[in-house]
Symmetry: C2
Amino acid sequence: MIQRVALICGNGAFPLVAARAARQRGIDVFILGLKGMAAEDIAEFPHIWLGVGQLGAAFREIAARDIKDICLIGGLGRPEFADLRPDWGAIKRLPEIFRLLKGGDDHALKGVIRLFEGEGLRVIGVEDLAPDLLAAEGAMNRVPFPDDLKEDLAFGHDCLGALSAYDCGQALVLAHRRIIAIEAAEGTDAMLLRVADLRERGRWRAKGPAGLLIKAPKKGQDLRVDLPAMGPETIASAAKAGLKGIAVQAGRVLILDRAAVAAQAEKAGLFLFGFTRETAA
Amino acid sequence: MIQRVALICGNGAFPLVAARAARQRGIDVFILGLKGMAAEDIAEFPHIWLGVGQLGAAFREIAARDIKDICLIGGLGRPEFADLRPDWGAIKRLPEIFRLLKGGDDHALKGVIRLFEGEGLRVIGVEDLAPDLLAAEGAMNRVPFPDDLKEDLAFGHDCLGALSAYDCGQALVLAHRRIIAIEAAEGTDAMLLRVADLRERGRWRAKGPAGLLIKAPKKGQDLRVDLPAMGPETIASAAKAGLKGIAVQAGRVLILDRAAVAAQAEKAGLFLFGFTRETAA
């Protein structure tokens, strides 16, 4: 059982939601808010503010509270070296930090985990704090997943799997075995708005709702720090793109307020389906 | 030796450039201009106008002129069934046409080739008519391909190769082994403008020129009808995206006015490099 946890919080709404869920389950939450990223509301918890480069301070504060479990949550963007303003604790580890800033996101995050583990800390995932934040298995609202999209789901999921070797591809949109859009650095919502635009300009033509969004972590991605996430904007963008629905990997995609998001999807006529390796094969 | 050819022309500038180049090499060119797509200037050649669905008429006109070689060139968009307005010759072949409209572009184009071959015609590629329209091998201007991008070229080319199995991925942008953008239905220029936008909004941060565009046909793509193409807009968009340059597969990418495009790239400080399987490994 986890008794105390240090949450290192980036931007977005997930950090606070996870912190509150953990508190409700009786876990002592201490927050390290990243300056310029974390929400002001972390003030409702014991907290400190730190720059991304202040690794040394982070380690000291965590050790001082005898905390062994840490959880990294929220968006970071990719810090440029100039923004890091490293403290001495970070400078000591510069060669390592340098290495982790090269390569894809997944690579970088594994480096971050290793840095913390090197200090004797255990990096835990959101599912250990707030399992309700993760996509459930099967239909999450009353719009059923259409049988005739099974083949597309398997095809698209395979395609994402093939991209994992290149440390990219957390989401794509396809219809009738045709890949319409693949996400790389732009993020899922931007990709969905692109699909909406492609439809508007007639580069993807289909009558009525068509196609689906598939979202899953990369194979080999460390789920402790880098779960793909979706929220109300994802639903709104998918509706704009005129999709039939959204398939996410069950237990491996964060959904901000699952019940509300599922209801929002239903209202827009979109299925929200949590697939597993078995149902996407 | 090809003496007579029927060019079935879609949109864009390539059809006329290829037609003129073929004429200069002493080939008799007859043009079938697709209504609403081909440029008015096809009138400088013996020509007729046809709707996309008028397959029957196309076969008759070609046979009447005793032409055995045909070449499909220019963009089509993806015709929706409602736009096809099929003639009887097309209606006879409806089941086949139906099949070819499902699935990715490559699939559809192979179907088109089979339709023509089924009529005893030979489908030839642009390289048979106008080899100068294709990317040359090696540096095409005086900006050298930087040695330190070799690894990225190989990595990105591999990634495109992996996507071929999913009938997508003709281009991508990457930097330091990080895939920034992958092209699907939006086209290369739209992808490059997205990269420019990602840089502007700080989602891809890099100082000065960084990253490269890699463009190549899909593996197994029938080069006779679906060569990837680039022109002045590609260079302008790559410059906007702040890239270091462009690597295209030699002999397998159409370049509209190669000399002018290479000079334009040079002026923008971009390399324009024609890679081969060997130089991208």
